[in-house]
Structure formats: structure tokens, C-alpha cells
Amino acid sequence: MTWSWDVFFNVIPLIFKGLWITLGLTIACYAFAMVFGFFWVFMSRIPWKPVNWLFRWLAEFIRSTPPLVQLFFIYYAWPSIPVIGVALNPFAAAILGLGLHFSTYTSEVYRSGIESVEKGQWEAATALNLSTKQKWLHIILPQAIPPTIPMLGNYLIIMFKEVPLASTIGVVAMLHIANDYGAQYYKFVEPLTVVALFFLLLSYPSALLIRKLEKKYNRRFDKRTATL
């Protein structure tokens, strides 16, 4: 088999269309994971042991099973379960599956951020008579979240690289397009190379950006000292 530049340049626009689907799916999954991550955190903070354990165990279960299995379950198995079964289109199933899987990671990140806020901050907030909601909104989260931004950014990149899993349940994004093209013309190398290039082109600068963020947020409070 020989490398063909013609094929290479022909598939670029085709796969570029898929890039938007991949990006859209990444963002949708990520948004789901970011929001739902808080759900796990709050469930595990309910001061009632059984609920607490149930959700901790559930999160642990989801975290330690492969996302591919979860995707298959949601897309193929769930609709056939009586009463609670729901048939989702591939895109929705992918968002739910990958979003849910990654929410168990973001929740750990949030948890570490929240635990890094000193106990004295809660106490000062109580002494000033803030309500529970006000404590979270004004005192805890503004201190807990910024240091986790680099970690959250890392998960965004990892998520981006996991999204091709969705092609297995029929989401027509970059990988799927490349595969179809290959099957049709018996040319796999060029389209798959293009897919890899697109991933590299997006992942690498993002990784650099995150390293920058890391520096910025690690020095967040020191920097203010430096301006004195």
C-alpha cells in the first residue's frame, strides 16, 4: 500500500466537518461532568450515613468500570430494561455516558479543592453569621475552585481524547468518518493520520495553556504579595 497525498488532502475537509462534532461532543460531555461533579460532592456531604455510602459506592463503581462498557450499557442495554428503560439517540447517550463517567473524576477534584480550604474559614463565616449557602458561595467555593482549574483543564484534554469512543455507538464524528472512508475506498492510513493530526493540533496547545494556568493559580495569592 502506498501513501497518497491526494487522498490525504481530499479527506481533510471531510474530517474537518467531523472535528466540529468531536468538539461539540467534548464540550457537552465536559459541561455535564463539571455540573454533575457537584452532585456527587453534595450527596457525599449529606450527614446521613446510608445516603452518603450509597453515593460514594456508586461513584466508585462508575469510576472503576470502563467508559466503553458504560456507553454500551446506556445505548444498548438500558432501553430494553422494563419501566425505567429509555432509548437515547447516540449523541445524548454519549453525553450521558462520558459525562457521568468523568463527573466522578471532577467530583474528586472539587472535593480536594474544598478540603484544602481551612476549617478556620468555615468558622469565621459562621461567626459572621453567614447562611450555609452564603458560606459556599462567598467563602468556600471562591477559594476551593481556582486551585483546581489546572486539574479540571487536564480532564478537558483527556475527555477530548476519549470522545472517539462515541463512534462505537454511532456518533458520526472524526473517527467514524475516517473509518467509513477507509471501508469505502480501502484507504485507512491517510484519513486516520488526519484524525491524529487534528487531535495533536488541538491537544498540544491546550496542554501548554494548562501548564500556564497551573503556574498562574499556584502563585495566585503570592502574586498579590509581590505587587506590594
Binding site: 468558622e123 459562621t126 461567626a127 459572621l128 453569621n129 447562611s131 450555609t132 467563602i139 477559594q143 498579590r224
Partner: protein, 258 residues
């Protein structure tokens, strides 16, 4: 006889199996300045944390203005206090911590403005004016836009006091507020408390190891030992003519610094 603003009635507190407070009875009248002294681990911090609702007593009753802090009445039934009940009473109490506990993500001014703005829902411009006045009073008028990390310990503690004063508490709690400070910064913080004590109708409970200071500003001194108030009375009585042997022994450790 004025009604007490704070009452502890046979208050006990245990952490696990360890009983830290063993039956505290204490009345504080409005405006009274009470110094709480005693060896480390005797339960001084726990006493004031109970009033600030940072800990819950194991048994006994704490009342503020005659209202039971940890129980509420509905009709003629009583229930454990909920957040609303606690918040209603807590408004009268303020606290300054040993380690300041300023909010590091906010400027000095924002630290002072937060609670009056969001808890009391006062107008921002008014709160700002009061905060600037308050910060001026504690000698930090030129620091209002800095962040806590840019201040010295003594300055941080003065901000913490201004922040607590912004809520106009009727009782202010001080937990060894100078013991985390470098020796040369202690004076500036004591000075602020002294002014407050002399000018204010605010009641104060001060946990302190500064005996001269206690002698100077307190109306009453309590000596706490192993979870009980072992001796109490007028500062002269307690600090100059201690009766119990344990108090004498305790005070003798401070003679070098007096």
C-alpha cells in the same frame, strides 16, 4: 439587677470520652468585660466556641438574652435548634480568632463589608463608609485595598477585629488573639482592645495570657482549671491575692513577664 445577656447553666462538653467542660455556670451582664485565664487544655477555647455555636454542648443550657441557644420552642414543644434559630441568636455574638481567619481572596475592605452587605443586607455605600471608618479606627486606613497576605500579624488581627465589629455584636469573644503574634506586635492589638473595652457597652469575654492587660480592663476574672471554674472574682482579688493553690501556682509562671 440587670438581666444577664449570656448565661451558661451547668454546661458540659465532652469530645468522645474526654469531658473537657465539667459543669460551667456563668452569667455575663451586658457590657461586662470578663477575662478567662487558665492553663492550656483547661477548656477556655471550648467555652467561647460553644457560645459562638462552633461546638454544641453535651448537656446543660446556654442562653443569650434569655433565649435557649440550642433549643427552640414551637407552641409548647421544644425542638433542637435549626439554622434559622441559631442565626437569629448568633447575630448578637462576634468572635476574634487566634489565627485571624481572614478571607484571603478578599481585600481588607471586602473582608469588612461582606457580612453587613449579605447577611444584614445593608446598602453597599453605607457599609463601605462604616468599614472605612472602622478600619481607620484600628489604624489601617491606608491598607484597605490590600489582601490579608500583604499584612503583618498585628495588622491582620486588627482587621479581624474591625470585621467582627462591623456586625455590631453585643458580646465579643477573643480567643488568645495575641498569642500567634510576634512579641513586638502584641501591643498594637491590645491597644485596640483596650479602647474598645473603655469605650464600649459591648460585653467581652477574653481568653488571655496577658495578666497585666486582664488586670487593667477586666471587670471580672475567671480561673478555669480542668474544665471547671475554680476561682472567680474581681481582677485584684484573683490576680493579686489568689486563694487556691493551683491558681497561685498558675500565676507564678507569669511573674517573670510582669
Amino acid at each position: 439587677m440587670v438581666a444577664p445577656i449570656v448565661q451558661y447553666k451547668n454546661v458540659r462538653k465532652a469530645f468522645g470520652d474526654v469531658e473537657v467542660l465539667r459543669g460551667i455556670n456563668l452569667d455575663i451582664t451586658p457590657g461586662e468585660k470578663v477575662a478567662l485565664i487558665g492553663p492550656s487544655g483547661s477548656g477556655k477555647t471550648t467555652i467561647i466556641r460553644l457560645l459562638m455555636t462552633l461546638e454544641e454542648p453535651s448537656s446543660g443550657v446556654i442562653e443569650v438574652n434569655g433565649e435557649n441557644l440550642w433549643q427552640m420552642k414551637k407552641g409548647n414543644k421544644t425542638f433542637p435548634a435549626d439554622e434559622k434559630h441559631l442565626r437569629a441568636i448568633r447575630g448578637d455574638i462576634g468572635m476574634v480568632f487566634q489565627h485571624f481567619n481572614l478571607f484571603p481572596h478578599m481585600t481588607i475592605l471586602e473582608n469588612c463589608m461582606l457580612a453587613p452587605t449579605i447577611v444584614k443586607k445593608k446598602e453597599k455605600a453605607t457599609v463601605r463608609a462604616t468599614a472605612l471608618e472602622m478600619l481607620d479606627k484600628v489604624g489601617l486606613a491606608d491598607k484597605v485595598d490590600l489582601y490579608p497576605s500583604q499584612l503583618s500579624g498585628g495588622q491582620k488581627q486588627r482587621v479581624a477585629m474591625a470585621r467582627a465589629l462591623m456586625m455590631k455584636p453585643k458580646v465579643m469573644l477573643f480567643d488568645e488573639v495575641t498569642s500567634a503574634l510576634d512579641p513586638e506586635l502584641v501591643g498594637e492589638v491590645l491597644e485596640v482592645i483596650r479602647d474598645l473595652a473603655k469605650s464600649g457597652e459591648m460585653a467581652m469575654i477574653l481568653v488571655t495570657h496577658e495578666m497585666d492587660f486582664a488586670l487593667d480592663i477586666a471587670d471580672r476574672v475567671l480561673f478555669l482549671n480542668e474544665g471547671v471554674i475554680e476561682e472567680e472574682g474581681h481582677p485584684e482579688e484573683i490576680l493579686v491575692n489568689p486563694k487556691s493553690e493551683r491558681l497561685q501556682e498558675f500565676l507564678s509562671r507569669f511573674t517573670s513577664s510582669r
